[in-house]
């Protein structure tokens, strides 16, 4: 081990709440340090061509003013947001093993590629022959994702994973309609991510929940009982949210297909499958991918991402509009697709994210992607093994890219998973996903990703063990965590009870 990993676990400690809590880190709201007459931009003066805008339109069309809107100089606006940034954790600065979110390194060169003027200044209504570079990039990305997933066609249209799900489900619906059947049920495992059932409802389907067995995966026999001719499809996340590869996925696909139902694979966990197993080969008819997970685009504090959908031939006609096509004149968008489910948004998808994802694929190449999944799996199993003493795995099955752990501190010391999570913050580590999947009480869902060093994983492991002992020796300390963050434990109940969702002058 290197010096770094040998070094004692470092903790950010601060004073008794009272004192450490008047931290100069707290930043007033932008509205609170605004002062009448200041401005952060200069607008080119009126050309004198004629009347001013407000006069042209006339008073009845125009608002009097933008009262309470901020008034600050450029330096003060910049300082405000730079200081706000300092109140955040981020993957680039802290270990961020948030399960199911794949917080891997976001290569900075990708952002530069997206910002190239040829992409950043390209208007979506630009005639195709003047945007061939962008269209070719889209075509290449569609092809790369088809190869990676083992599917036939890809659409980069959806804005995020959830929109990809909705897209897929609407296609499933259209597919059955076309076949003259109005199947209205979709089977979803109890371990599914919340977006799955929510998407089903929005696609007009009724959700049938399939229990995963006590080993943490789906039982083909169990599924067989659930599938009838009213079932349009089953949505399976593979590996599932227990971090377990669904061993019977192929049988399940067969069962579904046999009864005319389709298999939708939620590819949010694709970071476990690169060069390991292709959803297309498992029998998936539709897969959505999250470029902001597997393909390294920054999460941005909650997006933007991109949720491409990949499908097998029979579903291709139903893909959303517009479809890119190759003509002898070059690439163009095909607007004439009678069976398409239509659009779910404007224009051609989150192109800026597609550029980043494509840059990532170029950087790793086929072998690099395969190595990424293997190292992600290695990290998760390493953590699982080293923590098993205090934080046993919720499943006996091998873990893929993430592991779901439980603990007995609730019983032993009345220390909850939430409190463990908050305590981690004091060590400069972002907590794992907690209380998910719902089937595991007090779950800790840990996804280290392949871009974190062994020393970083070791430090996390040592910190978790330390917190475990601390829970027994000094539980108060944990209940009072975090102590090192700009604010102490935030009262979320209060926030929901009396919602204050905007600033108003009176609130000062």
């Amino acid at each position: 081990m290197t010096a770094a990993s040998k070094s004692p676990i470092i903790e950010i400690k601060q004073a008794p709440a009272e004192s450490s809590r008047q931290s100069a880190q707290s930043v007033p709201l932008i509205f609170e340090h605004s002062s009448t007459g200041r401005h952060g931009v200069d607008i080119a003066v009126h050309t004198g061509s004629g009347a001013r805008g407000a006069d042209i339109l006339g008073a009845e069309l125009c608002r009097a003013d933008l009262p309470e809107f901020p008034e600050l100089s450029e330096p003060d606006v910049l300082r405000h947001f730079l200081r706000l940034s300092q109140l955040n954790f981020g993957q680039a600065l802290q270990f961020y093993p948030l399960g199911s979110c794949t917080m891997k390194y976001n290569p900075v060169v990708n952002d530069e590629m997206a910002a190239l003027p040829g992409f950043a200044r390209l208007h979506p209504a630009t005639p195709a022959h003047l945007a061939q570079g962008a269209l070719e990039l889209i075509a290449r990305m569609e092809a790369a994702l088809a190869e990676i997933t083992g599917m036939d066609s890809v659409s980069l249209h959806p804005a995020a994973g959830a929109q990809g799900e909705l897209t897929g489900l609407l296609m499933i619906r259209a597919y059955h309609r076309k076949a003259g059947a109005a199947r209205h049920k979709v089977i979803i495992p109890d371990t599914a991510h919340g977006t799955n059932p929510a998407s089903c409802t929005h696609a007009g389907f009724e959700v049938v929940v399939a229990k995963s067995n006590r080993r943490g995966f789906l039982d083909a026999n169990e599924i067989r009982h659930l599938v009838d001719e009213d079932v349009a499809a089953m949505m399976v996340t593979n590996p599932n949210t227990m971090g377990v590869f669904e061993p019977e996925i192929q049988e399940i696909a067969a069962i579904l297909h046999e009864r005319g139902a389709l298999l939708y694979i939620d590819g949010a966990n694709m970071n476990a499958l690169l060069g390991v197993a292709k959803p297309g080969h498992m029998g998936a008819d539709i897969v959505q991918l999250n470029l902001h997970k597997t393909f390294s685009t920054p999460h941005g504090g909650g997006g933007p991402g991109a949720g491409p959908v990949a499908v097998k031939k029979p579903l291709e006609p139903f893909l959303p509009m517009p479809r890119l096509m190759r003509t002898e004149a070059g690439y163009a968008f095909d607007e004439d697709r009678p069976d398409s489910i239509g659009r779910l948004r404007s224009f051609h998808g989150n192109f800026g994210m597609v550029v980043r994802g494509y840059a990532y694929i170029l950087a790793l190449g086929g072998d690099g992607l395969a190595m990424a999944s293997r190292l992600a799996i290695l990290g998760a199993n390493y953590i699982r093994k080293r923590l098993e003493g205090h934080f046993p795995s919720a499943t006996s099955e091998p873990s893929m890219h993430e592991c779901v752990l439980s603990h007995d501190l609730e019983k032993l010391a009345h220390i909850s998973t939430l409190e463990i999570a908050k305590r981690l913050l004091d060590f400069g580590i972002h907590p794992p996903t907690i209380y998910f999947p719902l089937v595991v009480p007090g779950a800790l869902m840990i996804e280290p990703t392949e871009t974190e060093s062994r020393e970083t994983l070791d430090r996390f492991i040592e910190t978790m063990d330390r917190i475990y002992s601390e829970a027994l020796s000094d539980p108060e300390r944990i209940r009072n965590a975090p102590q090192s963050t700009p604010v102490s434990r935030v009262d979320e109940v209060e926030a929901a009870r009396r919602p204050i969702l905007r600033w108003t002058r009176s609130k000062i």
Binding site: I43, T126, G300
Partner: protein, 450 residues
């Protein structure tokens, strides 16, 4: 590979802990037939230099991005973006953080989004705004779904034909799965280009769920939103305004002032690059009374244990991760970093700057229209407009090609989406256009028209 730290030694040591010998032992339980065929047939990885060269060469093949004078709009607008916006969104603390589930480690994001919600509420003149949606079109669709939750018994959606085609298509897709909803397209007044009030009145009965109108609309025309919302309210229904050019809200009367219940739109004009159409930023504002039916994330103000003001995600019981199939929306990842960019942009523009810029857009657009007029190219509609307007040009598409030969992107032909507007072109004019460009545009179009 440069992004992955594990060395041979690390791998060996970690494998030892897991009791395995080879990396592939870790996936031995994955069915063999799947593993056998899993190899990814793509080029080997590239150095940073090589990928930069390759992608830069693709970026260089988009002449439309640089070497043309542009009047393209139709839902996405060319505006100047101050460098300070990029300086903030480039901060790793913002760019590489996840949705702020852990409030104590996310006060930067949560406070910025709280400020965003406030700015959108102020702009729209409504009580409350959410943390943002994917884009204007999906926000419009979510608004209709929200209306439906508010008035479950009602079925008719009066959708103005003068709302952007993309938006209308998106609304249709989102509603396609819901039974018992009927979308009635409200025609536009052939003269003014505004929604046909008479037609709307006819539709406005007790089955009316909501009215959806552009503000400004797809023709750049400023709809009589007050009248539209009066009619809608009288029918006991919900008025939804849809704004693609957010800048207009800096000058036009606020939707909230005009009786709108839900104001949605596209925030791309607020500091986001064109980026070939995405990522953009959907915004949504409404009434506090409707908050529990609002989709999307919400940041609320609260206190920490020591009484200090703090911000956190709130009212999550509306959301998929809690409510699952009964959630108001399936949205999870939204466009947070875009909302941050908009927050910085609007803070820089400020109370006066935003209005001045809006006024300048109006002024330039009208100057351009006048220049075209005097060249014999007439506006198709008489309604008041903001920074985009529709002109009629003999064989419009040919005219567009002619202009292109003169390095001008004259605008967007409407004939594809509006067959009834055969020779119509939507021309957008922003502060990025300079008055000298107007005569060139006029000359190009006039010639083609001859």
């Amino acid at each position: 590979m440069r992004y992955m730290p594990q060395t041979e030694a690390d791998i060996a040591a970690m494998l030892a802990v897991t009791g395995k010998h080879h990396l592939d032992d870790l996936i031995a339980h994955v069915p063999a037939n799947l593993r056998k065929t899993a190899a990814i047939n793509l080029d080997p990885g590239r150095t940073e230099e090589a990928l930069t060269v390759e992608i830069s060469s693709l970026a260089a093949c988009n002449a439309g991005a640089s070497s043309y004078t542009s009047f393209l709009g139709a839902g996405y607008y060319r505006h100047f973006i101050p460098a300070a916006v990029r300086a903030v969104t480039a901060r790793a603390e913002f760019a590489t953080s996840y949705t702020p589930y852990q409030a104590e480690a996310s006060q930067g994001t949560t406070q910025a989004i709280f400020e965003f919600q406030t700015l959108i509420a102020q702009l729209t003149g409504l009580e409350v705004a959410n943390a943002g949606m994917y884009d204007g079109a999906s926000a419009a669709a979510e608004a209709v779904l929200m209306a439906r939750r508010l008035l479950p018994k009602r079925s008719v959606v009066a959708l103005s034909r003068a709302v952007w085609p993309d938006y209308r298509a998106t609304i249709r897709t989102y509603l396609s799965a819901l039974d018992g909803i009927e979308i009635v397209e409200v025609p536009f007044d052939d003269k003014t280009g505004a929604t046909d009030i008479g037609a709307l009145s006819k539709i406005a009965g007790d089955r009316l769920l909501c009215t959806v109108a552009g503000y400004p609309n797809a023709f750049g025309v400023i709809e009589p939103l007050g009248t539209i919302s009066d009619i809608t309210r009288r029918a006991g229904a919900i008025t939804i305004s849809v704004t693609a050019e957010g800048l207009a809200l800096g000058l036009l009367r606020a939707p909230g002032e005009l009786g709108v219940d839900i104001a949605v739109g596209e925030g791309q004009s607020f500091g986001l690059p064109l980026q070939f159409g995405g990522p953009g930023l959907g915004f949504m504002a409404g009434r506090m009374a409707h908050i529990r039916q609002m989709p999307g994330r919400l940041i609320g103000q609260t206190r920490d244990r020591d009484g200090r003001r703090a911000f956190t995600l709130t009212l999550a019981t509306r959301e998929q991760h809690i409510r699952r199939e009964r959630a108001t929306s399936n949205i999870c990842t939204n466009h947070s970093l875009c909302a941050l960019a908009a927050t910085v942009y609007l803070s820089l523009m400020g109370r006066h700057g935003l209005r001045e810029l809006a006024e300048r857009n109006v002024e330039l657009a009208h100057q351009a229209a006048a220049t075209l007029e005097s060249a014999g190219i007439h506006r198709r509609f008489s309604g008041p407009f903001f920074n985009e307007f529709v002109v009629n040009v003999q064989n419009g598409t040919a005219a567009i090609d002619a202009a292109e030969r003169r390095q001008i992107l004259a605008g967007v032909a409407l004939n594809h989406d509006y067959p009834e507007l055969k020779d119509a072109i939507a021309v957008a004019v922003t502060e990025m256009n300079h008055p000298e460009e107007f005569p060139r545009l006029a000359a190009a179009l006039a010639e083609a028209a001859r």
